[in-house]
């Protein structure tokens, strides 16, 4: 039986969602996306550069190959996010949107109030909303209650590569798993082991951009992330051992040749 990720009635074999940002060149980006095995990629909505070559942006490169998830990056308020989301829908022909409302330029932390307001409006307009949030289970529960398709708590600030700094709260999220839509850990991962870590805890998917794009060999790193997400998920499903307080020998204690047996303490 396949272990599929289901978001808003769409099934995915891959639990790694990747961003298209920050690549030094398009060819590398294309190869890295392919190496990642991702089936859904995020894109941004931006003004065309009038007069510049390649004004067409990314459309031709990714359309048809991946499910496109436009983000509302750049929005600082709910109104701006809604406007960008509508443009995303106009470009992709689909109504999926990664909702991010970020007034803070230093740590790029999302504004929970504007995010919630935007989600309400977008859901009413028929969007499938994937909201990027802090590791706040209360906010996640509220977004879930109004119909968001996922909740996407951050591991660490966007692009920081710090790893799973919000681990304790992600663990709380996962204890509420049956009451929440799929939990996608998004932002701040730096290494494949970080992705494996959250997948082992039971996260449904991860979203990675900078850790792949800024690696020295993004194509190889994309493949590493792919393996890490698969390994973490397999481990979670395999039911990891329980940690102990003391050691426990792996070899039998009896029958050791040529030595006196230990007197039990």
């Amino acid at each position: 039986m396949a272990d599929l990720l289901v978001i808003a009635n769409q099934t995915f074999k891959s639990r790694l969602i990747v961003g298209t940002g920050k690549y030094r060149d398009r060819g590398v980006m294309r190869e890295a996306l392919e190496a990642s095995g991702a089936e859904m990629v995020t894109v941004s909505i931006r003004r065309v550069e009038i007069g510049a070559p390649g004004h067409q942006g990314l459309l031709e490169e990714v359309m048809g190959k991946y499910r496109l998830l436009p983000n509302t990056a750049g929005a600082k308020t709910a109104e701006e996010a809604v406007r960008i989301a509508r443009l995303g829908r106009a470009l992709t022909g689909e109504n999926w949107v990664k909702l991010e409302v970020i007034p803070d330029p230093l740590y790029l932390l999302p504004d929970p109030l504007e995010t919630y307001r935007a989600a309400e409006i977008l859901l009413q307009e028929g969007f499938v909303v994937l909201p990027y949030i802090g590791p706040d289970p209360v906010l996640a529960t509220k977004l879930s209650a109004i119909g968001c398709a996922t909740v996407m708590p951050l591991a660490a600030p966007i692009g920081s590569g710090w790893g799973v700094k919000t681990r304790a709260l992600i663990e709380v999220f996962l204890r509420l798993h049956d009451r929440l839509p799929p939990i996608v850990v998004d932002a701040g991962l730096g290494l494949p082991s970080h992705a494996a870590e959250v997948m082992e805890l039971g996260a449904d998917a991860v979203l990675v951009n900078t850790a792949i794009a800024e690696a020295q060999d993004p194509v190889a790193m994309a493949a590493a992330f792919r393996m890490a997400v698969e390994a973490g998920r397999k481990a979670y499903l395999a039911g990891p051992m329980t940690a102990r307080e003391t050691a426990s020998p792996s070899s039998p204690v009896v029958g050791v040749p040529l030595v006196q047996p230990e007197t039990p303490v």
């Binding site: 941004s44 931006r46 942006g57």
Partner: protein, 64 residues
């Protein structure tokens, strides 16, 4: 003046099709916002632009 991607342009009276042609943009690869109305790829409005219209011509770019 019509504002196109934040810049003022002499475009009142032109249709979006004419404007995109002038800017050498492919209407199949962009979406357009005129004031508060969004027009999907390839579905440009036929009405000419008016003085004071705010136009945003957008496309998909790289992003996380």
């Amino acid at each position: 003046m019509v504002y196109v991607n934040g810049e003022p342009r002499q475009a009142a009276g032109k249709t979006l099709e004419e404007l995109l042609k002038e800017l050498q943009l492919n209407p199949q690869l962009v979406a357009v916002l005129v004031n508060e109305t969004v027009y999907p790829r390839g579905k440009l409005p036929t009405e000419p632009l008016k003085e004071g219209d705010v136009v945003e011509i957008v496309t998909l770019m790289q992003g996380g």
